[in-house]
């Protein structure tokens, strides 16, 4: 294996059903239900998924959700904003922990 991440592996996702078909089927059923039109549109859900894919930094998810966003009618400008939302939340998550730093520093300092 020359690399942990291989683009072809995305197409082999269903191989995961071979170890435990029941759990795979339940996951896929749930997955399909999540992305079906609900209170949110399929297009909105695809944009959320794209943002999450960047937050978890999964190349398979980025590949799949980018295609999904385009196939739901989104454009690159909208998709870029979704990535910035993920970026802002990740950055904010680091920054808000600065309060913890301040708390500790305050307690230790004179």
């Amino acid at each position: 294996m020359d690399t942990y991440y291989r683009p072809d592996d995305l197409g082999r996702f269903a191989d995961m059903g071979q170890g435990s078909k029941d759990l795979w089927d339940r996951f896929m059923s749930y997955y399909s239900a999540v992305f079906a039109e609900g209170v949110l549109t399929e297009r909105e859900k695809a944009l959320i998924a794209l943002g999450v894919a960047h937050a978890v930094q999964c190349p398979y998810c980025i590949d799949a959700t980018t295609q999904a966003c385009l196939e739901k009618g989104s454009n690159v400008e909208e998709m870029t904003e979704a990535v910035h939302v993920a970026c802002a939340i990740r950055g904010g998550a680091s920054l808000v922990h600065g309060v913890q730093m301040r708390n500790v520093a305050q307690k230790l300092s004179m």
Partner: protein
Amino acid sequence: MRVGLTLQARHNPLASAAEQLRILSAPNGFRPFHETMEAAGLHPLLATGIRVFQINVGKLCNQTCAHCHVDAGPDRTETMTPETAELCLRALERTGIPTVDITGGAPELSPVFGRLVEGATALGRHVTDRCNLTVLLLPSQAGLGEFLARRRVEIIASLPYYRAAQTDAQRGEGVFGKSLEALRRLNALGYGRPGSGLVLDLVYNPVGAFLPPRQEEVEAHFKRELERHHGVVFNRLFTLTNMPISRFLEFLLRTGNYEGYMERLANAFNPAAASGVMCRHTLSVGWDGALHDCDFNQMLGLATGFGAPLHVRDFDPGRLDGRRIVTGNHCYGCTAGAGSSCGGSITP
């Protein structure tokens, strides 16, 4: 408006239908179309009568869109003669086919366009014009919109996206702005306005190697965005899948997207869409009068087969209504996802 070169003008090997068929029929990562149809119980595919008489009047166009399945452009000279146009009208006269769909190229640039519109409407047929919009602004086409409105011709106009970047990437720099101007002129004539009876539909094609969105959802987006930002209204939006032939095939191969796109189409095969494909109720007539099962087959040089008449002069509804359709791997383009036809998606 920037206009590029056709495959033919570039002497690209893909200008040849035989070369396209060679690539499409070569073993690849997807199952051959006829095997998929067999597995779905849909082989052989048979026509169910003719409801749409589609006439492709020629390949001349004032644009060279990146996805064009015709390889149309300003340098193309193939065009229907008045004699062939009369043969089309004579064939129509013998049937009750309700719809005549005129396409190209930019069909309005053909010398026989006006005659076909007048002849078909005089026969009481509903006429649709597949319009690229910018043709309406050409000085040589002054009065075209008024002519179409007088004849109550339904306009089916290409607009792949409601933003300039995407539209211009597919159809040429500056096309979006000119398309909006043409749409405003059509709206001023009553096209797309409630109660006018003048129908204006838009056609969405993906701007790249992916499937179209759900038709109802993207139509709602188009309506909101075009009205809010540009004051433009229209009736319906049709989503069409890009067919992996001609200039779109060249794009797929040049960008390394061919295999992935074909797999995407094949994996998204939808039996319900396959049983409703437009070729089952359409007859396609070429600029030279040759008969085909659809406009895509026409561009690949695939004539009607299995003993059906080959030329409009031999038009015989009895031998065409239930004919066997000629298929190939490109047909995955019409059967993927919600399906694709000249009237948009096939299934909800």
